[in-house]
């Protein structure tokens, strides 16, 4: 793992992965949208509104996946002080925040015609809202503390504490009574959703995953550049103090 602690080596690896991830995104998105709109039936109860599922569910999955990426990066940064791990957490946070906001907004737009309301304070919706606040809090901590190392440590601790929210999101529909439907794909006894709907759902989930890889690698490279510029600024400051 420490092989990729070298930013130059990481950038080379990222540059090799990026074209493939971009291609995968375009292909998966194209196929996903085709199946979502033209090759999957309307739901027998929800009608055409079920097509919101093909963007809502992948956004919700990515919101949780990205949080786990951020939490693992934070753990790695705190325990092993891996130089790129802090940057990985910081790079992932805005992507996770966007996916979480999209899961909430598309869920509201699906909920209104199906439940008759945009919002209910039940376990699932509230725990996903808490996830959004955790992302925003993590990003705010990075901004609020001037010293990068301290900011990174505080944000990483918050990310680790927030991990407890992930199983709450997942199992909230089983633990508490809710308007939200229970899991129909990620179940121990296999998916209960029909294959004609599972196909576009998985294709769109793949497209979102490929999108994550592309934007995450861009943001990692961006964070590496920011770190380089901070070091260069510090070196220039020391040089000017030394010259005086």
């Amino acid at each position: 793992m420490h092989r990729f602690a070298n930013p130059a080596q990481f950038n080379r690896l990222a540059d090799a992965i990026l074209p493939w991830a971009k291609m995968a995104f375009v292909l998966l998105l194209g196929a996903g949208l085709y199946y979502a709109f033209f090759d999957s039936p309307p739901d027998y109860q929800q009608g055409e509104s079920v097509r919101v599922m093909y963007i809502h569910v992948p956004a919700a999955w990515m919101a949780m996946f990205t949080y786990m990426v951020m939490a693992i990066a934070s753990f790695t940064a705190l325990v092993w002080r891996h130089p790129l791990a802090l940057l990985a957490g910081r790079a992932a946070a805005p992507i996770g925040a966007v996916f979480t906001a999209l899961a909430l907004i598309t869920g509201m737009l699906w909920g209104k015609p199906m439940w008759g309301t945009y919002w209910v304070w039940d376990g699932r919706l509230t725990s996903v809202l808490v996830l959004l606040f955790l992302y925003l809090g993590y990003m705010a901590l990075w901004q609020a503390i001037d010293e990068e190392e301290k900011a990174g440590r505080a944000a990483s601790i918050l990310a680790l504490v927030g991990v407890v929210n992930i199983p709450i999101i997942k199992f909230s529909v089983d633990w508490w009574s809710t308007l939200h439907q229970p899991a129909s794909v990620m179940r121990l006894d296999g998916p209960t959703i029909d294959g004609s709907m599972l196909m576009p759902l998985l294709l769109m989930a793949g497209a979102y995953q490929a999108y994550f890889v592309v934007v995450f690698l861009w943001r990692m490279k961006l964070e590496i550049n920011r770190r380089k510029l901070a070091v260069a600024r510090q070196a220039a400051m020391h040089a000017s103090v030394g010259a005086e």
Binding site: I55, K112, K228
Partner: protein, 54 residues
């Protein structure tokens, strides 16, 4: 076509969800790419300055 766009009467919910998702994902990708290009240029400029000083 009109039937497709109407989405069985749920057009405003379905198309708003897709439109907002597209807008948010495009905005995040474009702003990330733009910031990366700007910092790439700044790193190159810093490197050139250092070479000039050396």
């Amino acid at each position: 076509m009109a039937e497709f766009l109407n989405m069985g009467g749920y057009a405003s919910f379905v198309w708003t969800a897709y439109g907002l998702s597209a807008a948010a994902l495009i905005w995040l990708a474009m702003s990330s790419r733009k910031q990366l290009t700007e910092t790439d240029d700044a790193v190159d400029a810093a490197r050139a300055r250092r070479r000039g000083e050396g």
